[in-house]
């Protein structure tokens, strides 16, 4: 039997159906984000040179009216409780040196302004990129004489959120010129397109090829990382970027890398670059 004509006929119908469906599909919502009627957030930006998509769009545009409203009001944003915990940790003395973050960095509103927008950045001493979580741990060990935070434990999420929140509204920009950042970017890009697991999906399968569409009730975004740690309504808690990376990879039914491993640091460098130009939204509110 010759099946090819059935394929052609079937495809024709399938394409028509998809096209018709696409006209009723809500893509990213047209709206602007101003937090507390004061801080303007860049939620759409021209993409960086070499980016496969023409425009980068914050995940905020893919969420429901009520979720978007929560992020626009810092009293309604559940993630702000974490930021407040982080503020308290900033001034808490820990470790053998009798220091807190504040002992050296004083007022975070001044000393940390803009910092969250330029991480991850190259760290010469360790010969790898460093994110805010690793920066905090290095400070705790080297300067405070304290134990490093374990992944997602202790004050890691709230303190990271607090520090990133000091850059709220600042456009994200990673410096790929420093050290070997370009090499890590390339490794991250490779991972972004690597299909994993029994379900055989890559980051790109959902967030590049199908953003704007729904997987059941979930509206697929571009997967930009400018809002992490993010307040996820599903967990009612701050969720770190590496937790989300691991969750996504796990959902492809694959073994997933350790937090802060070379793989996930490379992926952080690459995905941060993909969202360049968007404002830091930490703590963003998501589904």
């Amino acid at each position: 039997m010759n099946y090819s004509r059935f394929i052609a006929a079937g495809l024709g119908v399938a394409i028509t159906t998809t096209f018709v469906a696409a006209t009723v599909v809500a893509g990213p919502v047209e709206d602007t984000l101003v937090i507390d009627d004061e801080i303007e957030i860049i939620t759409r930006a021209p993409s960086s040179e070499g980016h496969p998509l023409p425009e980068v769009i914050s995940g905020w545009h893919y969420r429901t009216d009520s979720t978007r409203a929560m992020e626009a009001d810092s009293f309604a944003n559940g993630g702000m409780l974490g930021v407040e915990q982080g503020a308290a940790l900033w001034s808490t003395v820990e470790g053998s040196e009798g220091k807190s973050c504040e002992s050296c960095h004083q007022d975070a509103a001044t000393s940390m302004a803009g910092v969250g927008a330029i991480y991850p950045k190259w760290h010469e001493e360790s010969g790898r990129p460093m994110n805010i979580e690793l920066r905090i741990n290095a400070c705790r060990v080297d300067n405070m004489g304290a134990e490093p935070y374990k992944f997602d434990k202790g004050g890691q999420k709230p303190l990271t959120a607090f520090i990133k929140h000091q850059s709220l509204g600042e456009p994200v920009k990673v410096n790929l010129e420093e050290g070997e950042m370009q090499k890590w970017w390339e490794a991250g890009k490779e991972l972004y397109y690597k299909r994993t697991g029994q379900l055989n999906l890559s980051c790109a399968s959902c967030h590049e090829l199908n953003n704007g569409k729904h997987i059941r009730a979930d509206h697929l975004s571009q997967g930009n990382v400018n809002g992490f740690p993010t307040y996820r309504l599903k967990q009612g808690n701050l969720i770190s970027l590496h937790n989300r990376f691991r969750g996504c990879i796990r959902d492809t039914r694959a073994e997933f890398p350790d937090a802060f491993s070379d793989d996930l640091m490379a992926l952080e460098v690459y995905t941060t670059w993909r969202g360049q130009g968007l404002s830091v939204e930490t703590p963003a509110v998501r589904q």
């Binding site: 090819s4 059935f6 073994e255």
Partner: protein, 150 residues
Amino acid sequence: MIRRLIVGCCAGLALSGIVVADGVAPDAVEIENLAIATPLTSTVGNAEEGKKIFANRKLGNCLACHANSDMADQLFHGEVGPSLDGAGTRWQPEILRTIVVNAKAIFPETVMPGFYSLDVGADVRKDLIGKTILSAQQVEDVVAYLETLK
């Protein structure tokens, strides 16, 4: 039970050559001219079972990506793939079988997982290595259900 297995094996053997107790092994499925002409098992697909597998989030989870008016009672149908309304009219069962077994054999760029294929991604979860998403019989059941979507 044993007799059924033997009959099943013989039928499978006669049709395709290499079989395991519950059907053709995933790496022995023959795709020819985009079609899998021979059912994967000797037990005819059960559309009612197939409907359950289609909707089950741990099995087919087909609604994650496809809309299906036959399941209008379920909320939130996906949009990543085409609607399956009329799939049974559009596609021959032999083609539907290929699409469910390994859609990439027909649409190389698709993101659709192969439900009875070992052509999978990297770093597969240890307990799933060498295993397929659906069993051969479940594929036959889903194909039988898709055939009813006219």
